[in-house]
Amino acid sequence: MSTTDTYNVLVRELRPMTRDPFSLIFSLLQPLIFLGLFGPLLVASSDQPVGETLQSFVPGILVMIALFGTGTTGSNLLYEMQTGSHERTLVAPISRSSLLVGRALKEMVPIIVQALVIALVTIPFGFTVNPLGLALGLVLLAVFGLGFGALSYSLALASRNHDWMFWGIQQATLFPLMILSGMLLPLEDGPQWMQVAAAFNPISYIVAAERALLSGDLASMSVVWGFVAAIVLAAIGLSVGIRGMKRAA
């Protein structure tokens, strides 16, 4: 892998975003809908004060942004493989691994911007945030997004000859991963098997770590486990993705 190549790929991937920053805000529609339509229900059904509920709900929404934003990102590569622009980059003298790493690194940027916007927007509604915790929380989300984005690219590479497979697997995994992470509703009251499934879901640890970080509980063990989960996921995502990119070329 070459740093220059990776940087050049990253710059190319960031260009559409810098040209049209509004697209970042527009893709916040889904988390905003969850905040606006699901949030009040959660507040109403809970005995806790609003601030308390938001304290566990908002970090979940931030992870949701990262999960859905990066889970679908492989579709861009899939489309470029179908049109021919990916082939163009394969004939250029750039390393295969840079083609993947540059793309995966790009995922960090929209996550940080979007998560920051959502966190700030919810403060007037009673969400309190620890600034250092927020900064660390954004780093955690970025690492998670890097890994999950790399997995989405891997899926795109694996399904390059049948794009239905990409969408099928993506649909079949995103929602279970979301629900079984306790992102929206706590799983403590759920059946035993759900709690077991959640224990195997790396996103559970990210959600728990975000909740601890944003509440200012920086020394919590769940923060450590969150970072471990994100780093392991990133390592797996990148190695699978790089291998996929080399094989597909």
């Binding site: 050049n8 190319r12 980059t89 004939v91």
Partner: protein
Amino acid sequence: MTNDTIITARGLTKRFTVKKSVVDAVTDLDLEVRRGELVAFLGPNGAGKSTSLRMLTTLLPPTSGTATVVGHDIAKEPAAVRKRIGYIGQGTSGGHNQRVRDEMLSQGAFYGMTRKAAASRADELLVSLELEPLATRGIMGLSGGQKRRLDIALGLIHSPELLFLDEPSTGLDPQSRANLWQHILQLRREHGTTIFLTTHFLEEADLFAERVLVMDHGRMIADDTAGNLKSTVAGDVITLGFASEADARSAWGRLGEASAGSALEGSTIRLVVDRGDLLLPRLLREVDAVTSATLRQPTLDDVFLALTGRSLREDSADVSTSPATEGANA
């Protein structure tokens, strides 16, 4: 290999396994292209043209055989080959969510150009390919012809000495096609760029290529100038019409020994000859009772017909016969 040779291939072979059946996409391709030549691979869809090109451009590793492109082995030094060649594939090179000039700058950076060099080269190409007004437009919104011009600009950003084009005019209207060729020919005139392209358009190979390599079923079956191919492989066809079958028969008798492919068909006679343009006036003077006469000089389709027994025109419409060979690696 002499200094003048820019592409050499020896026994280049590609075999795919598609759903447990083996497809010989390219078999034993031997090839030599000299610096500055304009060479066309001609053949029906699925003949192995694109697969050959993909091997030469390092996109696809050969099953066996070797090739040297711009002085470097395609298998051992793919990076060195990539640095020196330009490639314009069948699809759209520009990313759908990118802007025209941005994509050119990215492409320049990929080829190791400095920001400044890439920017000035991009601006130069924007002008020469008439893309200037579209510089900040999104690629998704461009017309087919505009996208193709951008493909060329991207392929030329690093001024390669050798340019590969895979079916460059597919999907273009006649005007855009003419425009495309104008650019390709200008490139050769001004920079002496070697151009290697694949096409299933007969007219294109005939008009522009200095050398035509005919491919069918993964094998190269002819390699010559279009003119030589036409005169040696196909020949001119003279068709003489008569008022009655009896007239035709008696003229057929007088013509004596007919060449291969010549035939008496009812009240018409078909002759396959060399230099029909010289023979026709003489025939009209010497043969009685001719009521109509046509001379058809051969096209590359006749060459293909003579070589394979099939017409390229019928074949090129029939994409479905062997999708595996050209599409398996897409």
